[in-house]
């Protein structure tokens, strides 16, 4: 039954995936393809020799964009939002994790494992596909994830992701940020994350439509490129039925907080 609901979109989804990931891999123009080898003995190729350069090295990156304390009038919370990847230029495994930890346990715990590949014919965007697990103090949910992450013009970081799980529930998230260099080391970063759901999920206190916004502005100091203490302000708000659920449990639907933390990467 549910399968039939999905079927019409299946072909489209496959086509979308093929485009996003360039499968079969898009080949660039081979300029030398017509330069056939002339007859005669070619200089020997030794396959057991190492390549002259290894341009498919595996690199890794771990970034905690937010690793901070948030203080509001009503209480304090710990917030983390990090991501990391490992892989080559064209094939990477991404891990993302975010959440709040406070007196009421862990909330908004969202962890993703994604395969990442640059999108052919785009310069700055990667396609990402994998799984998302909502694991925190609330009931666990598992989603399939498909998204895009990259640099829009003006160095605007943007990260829209689409999620789907059993029973045809879909969700969406859009993450955006921008670095404004005040000086070579003082950086102001506005940031926003919006979450959408197709259906209510009272157990996780998420309602359909726009569910929540987490937005803030942070001023960091790049002591080194990799160690950036920061201060800032953040707003965390619930909307629609999410706000209703939140009110029912006696919590505030909008929190404005002072944040302080450390942005680190390595």
């Amino acid at each position: 039954m549910r399968i039939s609901f999905l079927r019409p979109s299946l072909a489209g989804a496959v086509a979308l995936l093929a485009w996003l990931f360039g499968l079969p891999p898009a080949r660039s123009a081979r300029a030398q393809s017509s330069m056939h080898a002339p007859p005669g003995p070619a200089p020997q190729t030794h396959t057991e020799w190492p390549p002259a350069v290894d341009d498919n090295m595996v690199f890794r990156h771990v970034l905690f964009d937010q690793l901070e304390g948030r203080t509001t009038g009503s209480g304090n919370q710990l917030r983390w939002d990090g991501q990391g990847w490992v892989g080559t230029d064209m094939n990477r495994l991404w891990i993302k994790s975010e959440g709040f930890a406070g007196a009421n346990g862990v909330s908004d715990g969202d962890h993703e494992a994604l395969y990442d590949r640059p999108i052919p014919h785009t310069r700055y965007f990667d396609a990402q596909a994998g799984v998302r697990a909502d694991v925190d103090s609330n009931p666990t949910r598992l989603w399939a994830a498909l998204g895009v992450e990259g640099l829009a013009p003006y160095f605007f970081n943007i990260e829209p992701t689409f999620y789907i799980r059993d029973s045809g529930r879909v969700a969406g998230r859009i993450n955006g940020s921008w670095d404004l260099f005040v000086t070579q080391r003082w950086v102001v970063q506005p940031h926003a994350e919006l979450n959408f759901y197709s259906k209510d999920d009272p157990a996780r206190q998420t309602g359909s439509g726009l569910s929540d916004i987490d937005a803030g502005i942070r001023l960091r100091y790049e002591v080194t490129r990799k160690i950036n203490p920061y201060l800032g302000w953040a707003y965390d708000g619930k909307y629609g039925n999410s706000a209703l659920y939140t009110r029912q449990s006696g919590e505030a639907t909008g929190n404005s907080s002072f944040v302080f933390g450390l942005r680190v990467w390595y």
Binding site: S28, P51, A52, D55, R123, F155, T183, Q184, R225
Partner: protein
């Protein structure tokens, strides 16, 4: 800092002893001599102290020279070497206990044997940069040989059929960056065209205490990691004060819209680099002595990993007499830019009893290497302030249609010309008067043995143009390029590996380069280089190969024609054929492109006197062409000599068979 120089029994001193570092002071004492270096009696650092112990200013440290070895048998040992260039201890990869390694002095016509023993814990190699030698002696792991495994010894043996200033470096991993490099001086068989009284090798390099692997990793994660000259609010305000807020904003948004920055001058900067002259940081102040009135030949080598140097000696004009080991007609300049891998020989003639500063600032002005020429130890000249930092322009992006220099196609406004064949009209050179020159049959040049004049041209290596190759034999007909087979049109699409495609490319040979325009000094350009001797292969090319230099700075991926080395096919050349390589730089950075094993004859309008080079810098949005005689069989490396660009894919194999 350095161990005493280790020298094997086989090392021979040169009989003819050039007064490199030997000079008597006022009382007639020999201050120091190269013989001491070579014999390893005193370490380099101690020697400097011996020479000028009480004259070193406070805070200065003793400078040192790389030892010099000469003869035809050499033993080189590669090992780790504790160094301190920055005030912090670090580990370099040294040669015979020295970094840079010993300067090797060869003689044209000799056959040299170099035994290289690898005591490192990783594979290594030595590549002889600019040398025309058999492919299996070229020292590129994966192409020439397997590399030299830890503990192993490899014996290089090849005839030296050229003269000039060259250098050598590891071609394994990123050992160039960690100091595995040295200079080569080859004495010509013929007398020097311009006499000189004294000579110094000046090897420029960039040193980082950080591992090169971590530098590349940082660039992959954040490509402007080492750039502390980004656009900021603060510099917007100061710029707006000068240029007006509106135009500043307009310019900045134009760059930001493309996710690019005009401040991309160097990918790795003085934020991590210390710039060295002969292995000496600026405060050590490498010093060379002269007697007023002497003609001093300076052999400059840019052996850095990532740094373009702008070299000048305030107060002295320099006569450029050689580029990449090949004599050129003397050009008097005040300054010149050195691409990574290039060498230039200049002659200076200081007349006054005063010191001069050799000043080599990095193109991005984040630091400099410095030394002193002085008649007496203890004298030093002021170090000039660095020039303003250059910015890339829309012309570097191939976008400014109004101020095109060297543009030869007026009225093309708005057209996408990137795919156009500009091969014929794009060059200032008129080929119709270029009489072909057949190589000499004289047995004087060993390389010419076995060469026949009928049909065999180019299947034996041509000699380097020299006095001996110019004797007659000029023949051939004009306009033979009618048979030129054009390159396959190369279509470059933007994508993950190609961030920008300039809409307009042009010849920029007569430009000194970003940051050197209109600085009030006479700056060398490629258009100024005219070979001293007529080229030896007068045949016109029969084929064109067009290659675009491409990359995506943000992802730090680089390549040719949008492809990295690992996904590209080799470029196949037929033994004996003569081809034109056309390079089109679709990026906004300079790339010094180095072809191993074969000369690159830069088509800069000098016709039969086009200069022979081994490394050609291509400016942003520039179209450069050069001729290559595929006269030496083998698998040759062809790459951008910016180390991290090469390791990010800007590398091809050229197969001559």
């Amino acid at each position: 800092m350095r161990n005493p120089i280790d020298c094997g029994a086989k090392l021979r001193l040169r009989e003819k002893y050039r007064n490199m570092n030997q000079l008597n002071d006022d009382k007639g004492h020999t201050l120091f001599s190269r013989r001491l270096f070579v014999q390893g009696i005193v370490s380099a650092g101690a020697l400097a102290a011996f020479g000028g112990k009480n004259r070193l200013a406070l805070g200065e440290i003793a400078w040192q020279n790389a030892p010099e070895l000469s003869g035809s048998h050499f033993e080189l040992t590669l090992d780790t070497l504790p160094v301190n260039f920055t005030g912090h201890s670090a580990v370099a990869t040294g040669i015979n206990g020295s970094s840079p390694g010993p300067t090797l002095r060869w003689r044209e016509g000799d056959t040299v044997t170099i035994t290289v023993t690898n005591r490192l814990k990783m594979p290594s190699s030595i590549h002889w940069h600019g040398m025309r030698i058999p492919s299996e002696m070229d020292g590129v792991p994966g192409l020439s040989f397997r590399g030299i495994a830890p503990g192993e010894t490899f014996v290089y043996r090849f005839p030296v059929l050229q003269s000039g200033t060259y250098w050598y470096h590891s071609h394994s991993q990123m050992q160039e960056q960690t100091g595995l490099l040295g200079s080569i001086v080859i004495e010509p068989r013929d007398p020097y065209p311009l006499e000189f009284d004294r000579e110094y090798v000046l090897l420029l390099s960039d040193w980082a205490d950080a591992d090169p692997e971590s530098i590349l990793s940082n660039l992959k994660q954040e490509s402007d990691y080492y750039n502390y000259h980004r656009h900021t609010v603060a510099n917007f305000l100061s710029e707006a004060k000068d240029k007006g807020a509106e135009s500043t904003l307009k310019e900045r948004t134009a760059w930001a819209r493309m996710n690019m920055s005009p401040n991309d001058i160097a990918d790795v900067s003085g934020a991590v680099y210390t710039y060295l002259l002969n292995g000496n940081p600026p405060r050590a102040n490498w010093t060379g002595l002269f007697r007023p009135g002497e003609r001093v030949r300076l052999r400059l080598v840019n052996g850095s990993a990532m740094t373009f140097f702008d070299v000048r000696i305030p107060g002295l004009s320099m006569t450029v007499v050689q580029a990449d080991g090949n004599d050129v007609e003397p050009v008097e300049v005040d300054e010149f830019r050195m691409g990574v891998g290039e060498t230039y020989d200049v002659i200076v003639q200081p007349q006054d009893e005063t010191a001069y500063t050799i000043f080599a600032q990095a193109e991005d002005r984040t630091g400099f290497a410095r030394g002193t020429l002085t008649p007496r130890l203890g004298l030093a000249a002021p170090v000039p302030p660095m020039d303003p930092r250059p910015k890339r322009t829309m012309m570097d992006m191939g976008m400014d249609m109004s101020s095109m220099k060297g543009m030869d196609m007026p009225g093309m406004k708005g057209m996408d010309m990137s795919g156009m064949q500009m091969g014929e009209s794009g060059m200032p050179e008129s080929r119709t008067n270029g009489s072909a020159v057949m190589p000499p049959t004289s047995a004087e040049k060993g390389a010419m043995a076995g060469m026949s004049m009928s049909g065999g041209v180019g299947i034996a290596p041509f000699p380097q143009p020299s006095r001996s190759t110019t004797e007659g034999l000029a023949s051939g007909t004009a306009s033979e390029e009618v048979n030129l087979q054009p390159s396959n049109p190369v279509k470059i699409h933007t994508g993950p590996q190609v961030a920008a495609k300039p809409r307009m490319v042009m010849s920029r040979l007569n430009e000194p380069g970003d940051g050197l325009e209109n600085n009030g000094r006479r700056v060398l350009t490629y258009a100024d280089l005219r070979a001293r001797y007529r080229g030896v292969d007068g045949r016109p090319p029969t084929r064109e190969i067009e290659l675009h230099l491409t990359g995506n700075m943000e992802r730090f991926i680089w390549g040719f024609n949008g492809q990295k080395f690992s996904s590209a096919e080799p470029i196949e050349l037929k033994l004996g054929e003569r081809v034109r390589i056309v390079l089109i730089n679709d990026t906004m950075m300079e790339h010094p492109i180095h072809l191993h094993g074969l000369w690159s004859e830069l088509e800069n309008g000098q016709g039969p006197f086009n200069p022979y080079k081994h490394t050609i810098t291509v400016k942003p949005s520039e179209r450069v062409s050069y001729l290559v005689s595929a006269d030496t069989r083998g698998r040759w490396a062809y790459h951008c000599h910016l180390l991290y660009h090469m390791h990010a894919g800007m590398f091809r194999t050229v197969v001559v068979s």
